[in-house]
Amino acid sequence: MIRKLLLSTMVVAGCWFAASAANAQGLQVPKTQPAGQELRISGVNGTAYVFGPATAFKAKANGELVITSDQLRAAGMYTVVSDGNSGTFFVVADKASNVAFLARPSRVATAKTGVISGTGFVLDKFNNLVMQPTPVKFSLAVPGTPAETRSETSKNGVAFVRMDSGKKSGAAQFVAAVDDTEVRRVVTQTAADPCNIRFKAEPSKDGIHVVTDPIKDCSGNAVPDGTIVTFTETDQKGRSTVDARIKKGFAEAELPNEGSANLSVASGVVIGNEIHWGGK
């Protein structure tokens, strides 16, 4: 009894495997198909199904199934099914014609090493990632200065670069280019810390008038207006400080005139000159 049951199970299993194998032979479809190109599959009759990454539909075919170019825009795996047979093929990206570009940061100090990064994703006209190695040209420049240019070849559709900020402050144009397509991002380069600060003092109606020379970074860029400059007066009674903002390139303030005192100036970590005021 058990023997008969086992034998019939094995026969059924054998038939099932044979049927699966027959199905696996399937429809005659290409292994790969370029994105956005029509595909005609012959030998398809009756109801056919097409499943893809951005599509799924049922169609009637009479000897030939036509899948339109619009239905094959998205790269990925497609399966066609008809009358118990099926075939699978891959739609692959067309030639590179676009780039999605990420650039960071949007604001950076001048003359810093490796602070600007860019990543380019190489795409075809249907926004599929192009896996073939493709040269991507990156360039960075403030208008009126020579551009720093780098060419990187994409791997798995991605090219990346790390660049130094330029010496000149301003709105730097960071560009990634593939073929004739350019994508532009703006990276604002601002003056770095002051290189040195010099100030002078003179008596005024209310005390001592202190004023700096124009404040610049080590590349000669004017430190942005609004940057805080601290003036300090130290005398026998103690210390008093006044914070002033840079306006039109320099900072100024009024300090109390208490006779003999030491005057100094600083901004961030940069300390300027000292002046001994009054006394002997």
Partner: protein, 175 residues
């Protein structure tokens, strides 16, 4: 002796059948997805431990959400895990499926994922996924075909407010 052999064969077949059925039932009812993530060969920077944990969590969730969305024909289920091209394309597929009364059922047998690119600024992560995923294509409730079990995917993930989302998920012929 011969009788014992037949009994042994019978038991073996019952065990195999039970295991096959239970795997099917479990796969259909459990949303958990098995993912092994390796970040050893990533360039140009390393993936931080916290990022690795978050990516693993969110990538598993993305597959669970994709499976639910495709089976129930509900594009809204993509929102939690997909953005950009991926969301757009899967959304379009769901709309077309729905129109023709079709569905896809994912039976997920696990993923071997390797991180290959992590941008300097941490804003993009690219993965290669060798997935053992059986996709059943259904017309109503009838299975019309089953897609191959091992599929290679190229994946692009980007960080959102408090999670990583899939921006591109593309099946490729191979790596």
């Amino acid at each position: 002796m011969r009788k014992t052999l037949w009994y042994a064969m019978a038991i073996a077949m019952i065990v195999l059948a039970t295991s096959w059925i239970s795997r099917r039932v479990l796969a259909a009812s459990t949303p958990s997805v098995q993912v092994q993530l390796s970040t050893e060969n990533v360039q140009p920077r390393e993936v931080e431990d916290a990022t690795e944990t978050a990516v693993l969590r969110d990538y598993k969730l993305a597959w669970a959400n994709l499976a639910s969305a495709m089976e129930q024909n509900r594009a809204d289920l993509l929102d939690q895990s997909f953005v950009g091209f991926a969301k757009e394309r899967f959304g379009q597929a769901i709309a077309e499926q729905k129109k023709d009364g079709l569905r896809r059922r994912y039976v997920d047998h696990g993923h071997k994922v390797e991180a290959v690119f992590y941008s300097y600024d941490g804003s993009a992560l690219q993965l290669k996924d060798v997935a053992k995923v059986e996709v059943e294509l259904l017309d109503g409730s009838k299975v019309v075909a089953t897609q191959p079990v091992t599929i290679s995917y190229m994946v692009l993930m980007t960080p959102a407010e408090n999670s990583w989302k899939v921006r591109d998920l593309e099946a490729v012929p191979g790596f």
